[in-house]
Symmetry: C2
Subunit: 282 residues, 2 copies
């Protein structure tokens, strides 16, 4: 089940071809995206997602996205979604066709069912592995052309890392920097619980600011937790009271096993934080 | 002027839409490509290009490309190319549609006219800037999931680097590693001439093995040059007798200005090496 709408407001058949072979999103991974969770027919964190889309566009020198148009598009897909359950809404914005300096960007929103494996992971947790990302301290600020912290369509590395995790018997990845600091997952933000304090690394180290992480933090604060945005070390993870991967569609998924070693049971803090996150939308 | 053919042998209208929005080449930059120069209706270095395509496919865990099918496809586009001049032939191979484990890869060949700016650069040379790529020594071998040395569709960084060069008044980039070694261009291999010896860095440092670089080396050797594949330092570049960027479509383009400083005149070695390269195909 999929629902597709283009930025000009046209609904289209998601099984038909709509993209030319010379779209720079395809030929060069030259574009950006967001994935929004739609729950009970409402898009969660749409404002922060559109803010981040605008930030990514700026980092890639793409024309500034028209926020109101993307909001309409989001509403259009939701209104046309035939199911009643939650779904994922992907917003995609590319540089358009190659070789045409006046090319309009390609923009669409695609509603997609949520992979049952993701739903299962939300409940049961996952095994993850740490993998080096090859980012040294200060690189993101020093070299903005590396697009660290932009949500670009060039996710080949992220996908390869997840395949490497599968080879190692795990479902996901915690990327690490050369200095031993924790970065992010290929499609998620890393959160760590220690007592009733929740931690996540700062975006300045070259990672995406997490929309779901921010929502979990808001919920956790309301539930009496302390939250801290500060650098984390890989060596902090095994002793934590909880290690979590947060993203729109997976919400807060707990990591029960890291690099083959079982982590302390985080069922309780996970349940409390997952509930605190849901409370944000009630 | 463009000519498009798909891997199943069908010719198609390059201005029509042929790709679904959920193709992983588009959504995730999850695929690979090659760009082949077709000169006098012959594809140059097709064997090495197809070998590299197969190598990239292996690095991305894509199904092994059918070399004979890609050769037929190449021939088909050439046979249908309406012009008489040289053109660029892009071979693209993606993981296919998202969410379908049995999805067939998407494969096509697209003949495209050569940008007049590239032709001008072949003759007149270009200004380039050095930009940090954020690769430390040993990373490529240690972390194969970073796909260093694969020609993947996730070229967002490469395109951003070229835009950064433009902001600095230059046309192209020499990527450098954190330890001061020379890597490659965003879409080219770096060559350096010192006397009658031609140098290029080894692919093991995390760069693409260059098909055109290899051809230039063959031609140079026949013309009496010595060739060496060994690490180069950024500090080697200003004093060299020639700094060149090699790629299929630009052939051997000389860098006349680096980071704003005019380099020693390399017109003569360039002319000799360019001729030696052409001799390979006569």
């Amino acid at each position: 089940m999929r629902v597709l709408a283009f930025l000009d407001g046209t609904l289209a058949d998601p099984d038909a071809a709509h993209i030319t072979v010379d779209d720079l999103g395809l030929l060069r991974g030259d574009g950006i995206f967001e994935t929004v969770l739609v729950a009970e027919r409402k898009p969660r964190e749409l404002g922060p997602h559109l803010d981040r889309l605008a930030r990514s566009a700026s980092m890639l020198d793409l024309p500034e996205p028209d926020g109101a148009a993307w909001e309409r598009l989001t509403r259009q897909v939701i209104d046309n979604w035939p199911g009643s359950g939650d779904f994922a809404l992907k917003l995609v914005y590319t540089r358009g066709r190659e070789g045409d300096p006046a090319a309009e960007p390609t923009g669409f929103a695609l509603g997609m069912e949520i992979d049952p494996k993701v739903l299962e992971a939300r409940e049961k947790g996952i095994a993850a592995v740490t993998l080096e990302r090859g980012i040294e301290p200060g690189l993101a600020e020093r070299a903005p052309w590396l697009l660290l912290g932009a949500k670009s369509l060039s996710y080949g590395i992220n996908m390869a890392a997840v395949r490497e995790a599968a080879r190692r018997g795990a479902a996901d990845v915690v990327f690490t920097a050369g200095d031993g600091s924790v970065l992010e997952g290929p499609t998620s933000t890393v959160l760590l619980a220690r007592g009733r304090t929740l931690y996540t690394p700062p975006p300045s180290i070259g990672i995406l600011p997490g929309t779901t992480q921010a929502a979990v933090f808001r919920g956790a604060e309301r539930a009496g937790w302390t939250t801290k945005i500060e650098p984390l070390r890989v060596t902090d993870l095994p002793a934590a009271d909880g290690v979590f991967l947060a993203s729109s569609v997976r919400k807060l998924t707990r990591v029960h096993t890291l690099d083959g070693a079982v982590l302390p049971d985080s069922t309780e803090p996970h349940a409390e934080l997952a509930e605190a996150y849901e409370q944000v939308y009630r």
